[in-house]
Amino acid sequence: MGRLVRIVMLGVVAVGLMLALTTSASSGKTLGQASGYGDDTIPPSQIETATPANSTGTSGSGGGHATLIFGLGLVVVVLGGAGAYAYSRTRP
């Protein structure tokens, strides 16, 4: 496997680790129903669709966080890849 591919893969994993660590679990917010085997929270998909109504023109929405996290992940990929490449060049 090409060296570049492997380094990119490590970077992608780093992004995944960051995103997984910063993604919160389901909200646990009660819908009002207090019985039954079914879900007792607002599914994440509904939360996402409900968000834009209050997020127009603001930068503090969930989407903003996702962009920030993704951007940080890209920085990790670039720096991590560059660091690994530079380290490998210093070795005989």
Binding site: M1, L10, S26, S35, G36, P44, S45
Partner: protein, 571 residues
């Protein structure tokens, strides 16, 4: 034995030491005194023998047969401790089993395999919702896998491990049957009769009660709505990382692109490492994993979901109606293969990169597990049952009789359990004959217990809701007690207050207990707890026990000559 000897032994058994430590880390605060209440996890002070055990209902045989051992243990050390120890043992066995699949590899690789399997989001989610049978099946699966995938080579060992899975009930039985079928096909039918015999004999303890209940009960209307959550472009990748439980709020770990990326990374590592799996079972395990993944995803993939629902709506298909339960067949391949993948990549890398590659599977496993450690997000917080409950149980125990459990919900939020949604704990708490709703309220007016009295009690409940008395009909049904938990809509039964046929025996802030005054013209009719069905179930259990005892003797006799299946030459 000196401390040095103990340390040496602990080093030799490091998988088990680490596994137990992991189990303790998962259960965490739950190990403190107190019961456990979280969805299907109901650990009451004592746990009754499941009523489905002899096939006489009214419960469908879900906790069969392992529930008998759990019940016996609960009377010795208490129900909560029994369940907590069981969870720790399951996680330890799953970790050690996955590590044992790579017994020729370095410790780091084996530990990564153990982590990926033993504390995957799938495992932790099932701990949090109390699917004990599935956890038992997962614990035995990595140990059983090599033998069940080559049933023709060592039939005695195959039967031994298939029986071990069968003792976990249908959840483990499905794993055994799937692996045996893959093994039989891969063996091209060699010793086909023996393999079929293994499949049948090993699963009798749960299959026969299920058949008996199916044959003798006409009132069951199974629920649906358990589709795996694989929606969105990344759903299948999230499934690979152990997500996708049908009840989103019970899933351990956040859902999103992060888990999808980690799922993709694990699959990529597994593809790289699969070639290095032990030769004796590598290809067969890969096929079983593919089957497990497809089945797990099938109920949630558009196009396949309708077909899957129709196949599992009734009959034998019901055991896999919640298809994500098949995912361990995939995870038990993914974990060792991904761990080997990291090691394989490290062979071609510089020292720094090599360390990263070797560590990657374990780091991914750790990150995926973090949200579930130390009590599975509060789901294992111990609970103290209110004093009123013990007073009610004492009254019922001193004057035994059939109990109707109100509010009329199979699952309801319990205040003293942190408001968690829980399977109505009264049947387990009181023991004996308790009539409760078995409608999971998933929109279908379903009835999941084979109890012909349930529909009649439901009519009584409607009367009580409407402010009309219900005691005459309850008397005809042979009901002696009504237990009313002060939870959710408990105040919506005005009929109880005006019913002259009821005597309030216990009134507390947490529970009320009413006794039906006149039961003279009633008799305990239609009780499902009696009859001939126990006979075939007893015979089936006897057959399995005898077969297991015989092959265990043979396995012990040949143990020294067959240290591992890796040594068995492919024929």
């Amino acid at each position: 034995m000196t401390p040095t000897d103990l340390l040496s032994r602990a080093r030799l058994r490091w998988e088990w030491v680490c596994g137990v430590a992991l189990g303790i880390a998962v259960v965490g605060p739950g190990l403190a005194p107190g019961g456990l209440l979280s969805l299907d996890l109901v650990a009451t002070p004592t746990i009754p023998v499941p009523s489905g055990i002899w096939g006489v209902g009214p419960d469908l045989p879900r906790r069969v047969p392992y529930g008998v051992v759990v019940a016996w243990l609960s009377h010795v050390i208490g129900g909560p401790l029994t369940i907590k120890l069981l969870v720790v043992v399951c996680i330890a066995a799953a970790f050690a089993g996955a590590a044992n699949l790579l017994r020729e590899e370095p410790i780091v690789t084996r530990a990564a395999a153990g982590l990926l399997y033993g504390v995957s989001p799938f495992t932790l989610t099932r701990v949090g919702v109390g699917h004990i049978g599935l956890l038992l099946g997962m614990a035995a699966l990595p140990w059983a896998l090599p033998w069940l995938l080559r049933p023709a080579d060592q039939p005695a060992r195959a039967l031994r491990w298939a029986t071990a899975l069968g003792l976990a009930g249908f959840a483990g039985g499905v794993f055994a049957l799937a692996l045996l079928v893959v093994g039989l096909i891969a063996d091209r039918g060699r010793r086909g009769v023996a393999t079929a015999g293994i499949a049948v004999v090993s699963q009798l303890p749960w299959v026969v009660p299920a058949l008996v209940v199916a044959a003798t009960s006409g009132s069951v209307r199974p629920a649906s709505g358990f589709a795996t959550r694989v929606g969105g472009a990344t759903g299948l990748l999230q499934l690979a990382s152990g997500h996708g439980f049908w009840r989103a709020s019970s899933q351990v770990g956040g859902v999103g692109i992060g888990t999808a990326i980690l799922g993709l990374a694990l699959v990529a590592l597994a593809v790289v490492g699969a070639r290095k799996l032990p030769h004796a079972w590598a290809r067969r395990a890969t096929i079983a994993a593919a089957v497990g993944f497809v089945v797990a995803a099938a109920s949630g993939v558009p196009g396949l979901d309708t077909l899957y629902r129709s196949l599992t709506a009734n009959g034998p298909g019901l055991v896999v109606r919640e298809s994500q339960r098949a995912l361990p067949l995939f995870l038990v391949w993914l974990a060792p293969a991904a761990a080997l993948g990291g090691r394989q990549l490290a062979r071609q890398a510089t020292r720094l990169e090599a360390a990263l590659y070797v560590a990657t599977p374990a780091v991914i496993a750790g990150v995926l597990a973090v949200p579930g450690l130390w009590g599975v997000g509060g789901r294992l917080d111990p609970v103290q049952f209110p004093d009123g409950w013990s007073r009610a149980r004492a009254a019922v125990t001193s004057h035994p009789g059939t109990v109707v459990a109100l509010p009329w919900h199979e699952y309801l939020d319990i205040g003293f359990a942190g408001g968690r949604r829980v399977l109505n704990p009264l049947p387990d708490y009181l023991g004996g004959d308790v009539i409760t709703s078995s409608d999971p309220e998933l929109g279908g007016s379903d009835q999941e217990r084979a109890d012909p009295r349930e529909a009649r009690v439901q009519a009584v409940v409607a009367d009580l809701h409407a402010g009309r008395p219900g005691s005459p009909e309850l008397a005809r049904l042979g009901v002696r007690w009504i237990a009313l938990l002060h939870e959710v809509d408990w105040a919506d039964y005005p009929g109880l207050a005006v019913d002259q046929g009821l005597v309030a025996t216990v009134r507390t802030p947490s529970i009320d207990l009413y006794e039906v005054r006149d039961r003279s013209y009633g008799k305990p009719s239609n009780s499902p707890r009696r009859g001939w069905p126990a006979v075939p179930v007893l015979v089936a259990d006897l057959v399995t026990i005898v077969a297991w005892a015989v092959v265990s003797g043979r396995c012990r006799a040949t143990h020294r000559h067959v240290p591992s299946l890796s040594a068995v030459k492919r024929r």
